[in-house]
């Protein structure tokens, strides 16, 4: 085998797969943040329908309809904003996809693993003047920041899926 053939083999069997894997990881993880991706699983259909429902009064639908969140609305609220939050969310999502297709460990009812962390709301609302100057928020700010009082206690309903 000539040196050229050996180099070609190295490229085809080692370099190209590594590049394709990196590119596909990057591309697919980015695309997996889109609402369209979440809507691909039929389990999510009632939630996504609620998001698109023009008469829905749910918090999620209003954020979507009024474009309070411009893009990737599911991901923006459901990623935890800790250091490893985005990675953790994507790993959990991959687990969900595997559960969806294998049926192993499928929950009877969809619910969050942990109570919704206020930081997911506060990452946008926290610095906003109308949030900070609101006397109702100011009165409970410490409890909100400590996650002792949940934003969603007052701001319901979050989702109103039907079906």
């Amino acid at each position: 085998m000539s040196t050229r053939e050996k180099l070609l083999l190295l490229f085809v069997l080692a370099v190209a797969p590594a590049l394709v894997t990196l590119a596909t990881f990057s591309l697919s993880f980015h695309r997996a943040e889109q609402v369209r991706f979440c809507a691909d699983c039929h389990t999510m259909t009632p939630w996504v329908d609620d998001l698109h429902n023009p008469t829905s009064k749910s918090l999620a639908a209003m954020h979507y309809r009024n474009r309070w969140i411009l893009n990737d609305q599911c991901y923006t609220c459901h990623v935890d904003y800790g250091f490893l939050g985005p990675i953790e969310t994507k790993l959990v999502s991959m687990r969900h996809v595997a559960i969806y297709y294998t049926g192993i460990g499928m929950p009877r009812k969809i619910k969050l693993y942990h109570p919704f962390p206020n930081v997911n709301c506060l990452q946008c609302h926290g610095p906003a003047a109308n949030f900070q100057n609101d006397p109702v928020h100011a009165a409970v700010m410490k409890a909100l920041l400590a996650n002792e009082l949940s934003c969603v206690t007052c701001h319901e309903p979050i989702h109103t899926p039907e079906g």
């Binding site: 083999l9 069997l13 797969p17 894997t21 596909t24 697919s28 695309r31 691909d40 969806y100």
Partner: protein, 63 residues
């Protein structure tokens, strides 16, 4: 009987084949196919390639 390199090429070829749909349109199906089948196939190809090199080096008395 296919050689190690031939099996590695087939394995990596299948990996590329599974990566394509994910690159064109990422859906949970294409993503699962690539992550759970494509990546392991790439890994298998790389392992076989490394083993073929190892065998070749041993045959030539380098190792």
């Amino acid at each position: 009987m296919p050689t190690l390199i031939e099996v590695a090429l087939i394995s990596v070829g299948l990996g590329f084949f599974l990566a394509l749909p994910c690159i064109i349109d990422t859906t949970p199906i294409t993503m699962c196919l690539f992550f759970f089948s494509g990546v392991p196939l790439f890994g298998l190809g790389l392992l076989l390639y490394a083993y073929a090199i190892f065998k070749d080096l041993r045959r030539h008395g380098v190792l």
